[in-house]
């Protein structure tokens, strides 16, 4: 519980000198404390400034480093999503297409188009397409992106038949 008590005392934005002043410790010790807090996930954000790095500390730890369903996109999600494992691009494509269908928003389709080149596992992709019920939408997206983007990966025969491209 040492880290949590520290995080409670240092809530908010801090520089190294702020920490050493608040806790009455040496600067070198405060670097060590920052390292321990970072390891447990209590540091949410770091910003490098000319007067020294600023650290945002909170009492609720962020759960994992690889988080955020919409990590690579410009869209701001209303809620924070965390996942231990990095979410594969196959999953992201399916999720974005589902969102575009629900909210009738073209921006999600544009974001999904950027990820088409990174498809590697077609079996995985087909599972997500079935789960989100968007096989038709993916078919359209694939045909469009073949015209616009270079080196779009070709579909294996089996999935060509299943998706109907």
């Amino acid at each position: 519980m040492f880290e949590r008590n520290l995080a409670n005392k240092l809530k908010g934005w801090n520089t190294i000198s702020d920490i050493s002043e608040k806790l009455n410790i040496k600067k070198s010790t405060s670097y060590f404390y920052i390292h321990r807090l970072n390891k447990k996930g209590f540091i949410l954000q770091k910003i490098k400034k000319p007067r020294g790095t600023m650290y945002l500390i909170d009492s609720i730890p962020s759960f994992s480093e690889n988080h955020g369903m919409l990590k690579n996109t410009e869209i701001v999600s209303s809620e924070i999503e965390f996942s231990k494992n990095e979410i594969p691009s196959e999953h992201r494509i399916a999720y974005l297409l589902r969102k575009s269908k629900d909210e009738n928003n073209q921006r999600y389709i544009n974001e999904a188009k950027k990820l088409v080149r990174s498809i590697k596992n077609w079996k995985k992709l087909y599972r997500y397409l079935k789960a989100y019920k968007i096989i038709e939408e993916f078919k359209q997206l694939y045909i469009e992106s073949r015209k616009e983007i270079k080196k779009v990966p070709s579909i294996p025969k089996r999935y060509k038949r299943l998706i109907g491209v």
Partner: protein, 218 residues
């Protein structure tokens, strides 16, 4: 056997990978405490789901897990709770003697409607196709204070000491719920009063406002 964070994540990942459609749910109780970093282990895994088909799918997947093959589905709770609270929110319990227990609720947790709590959540944990919302600390205090177990009282103290709690939001929620069901709020009041007797952790205005709802004075 108690479940730690790693086992919990592995079990939830297993469920997520076996699902054939996206399932939304709510993570409450000891599991939520684990993800807030306030506990190391838990006896049971409490999930709230909002679709009956989802409950059927998840129970089937849990039964297919090699560790849970011999587990049994029980409709009775293994611990004591106020019988009035059991009218609506009885969980489906999947239990094996040595392993952590699964308690799966449908919409209500011990007669408490969780739809508002589900909408208020800001953090989501994703395990492949299983999407679980993490209950907010204020709502966790509310849920824990309804059941009057000594373990839950310790948990409430731990939450208040370690996390920043928006008491105004908590009061608003209590006032809204009072219009629906005042028996539940009476239980919450009793529990918070007991905690404050031992150590003054809850601000006085919170208890005073709740007492006012019943036309009483401290």
């Amino acid at each position: 056997m108690l479940a730690d964070k790693e086992l919990l994540e592995n079990l939830l990942n297993y469920i997520g990978k076996k699902l054939s459609h996206e399932v939304d749910g709510l993570l409450i109780g000891g599991n939520a405490m684990i993800f807030y970093g306030l506990r190391g282990q838990t006896k049971d895994i409490d999930l709230v789901l909002f679709d009956k088909y989802d409950i059927a799918a998840i129970t089937q997947i849990i039964k297919s897990h090699p560790l849970f093959k011999e587990s049994k589905i029980i409709k009775k709770l293994p611990y004591k709770i106020n019988p009035e609270l059991l009218k609506m929110g009885e969980p489906t319990v999947i239990q094996n003697s040595d392993l952590p227990r699964f308690d799966i609720f449908y919409k209500h947790v011990f007669s408490i409607d969780t739809e508002k709590i589900f909408q208020n959540c800001k953090r989501t944990l994703r395990f492949d196709l299983l999407k679980l919302k993490l209950v907010e600390p204020e709502d966790l205090i509310f849920l824990k204070s309804v059941s009057r177990r000594p373990v839950d009282q310790d948990d409430i103290v731990r939450i208040i000491k370690n996390l920043q709690i928006n008491w105004k939001y908590f009061l608003e929620f209590v006032k809204k719920y009072h219009k629906k069901d005042d028996r539940v709020i009476w239980l919450v009041l009793g529990n918070l009063y007991d905690i404050n007797k031992k150590e003054e952790l809850i601000p006085k205005f919170v208890i005073e406002e709740i007492v006012k709802l019943f036309g009483l004075k401290l």
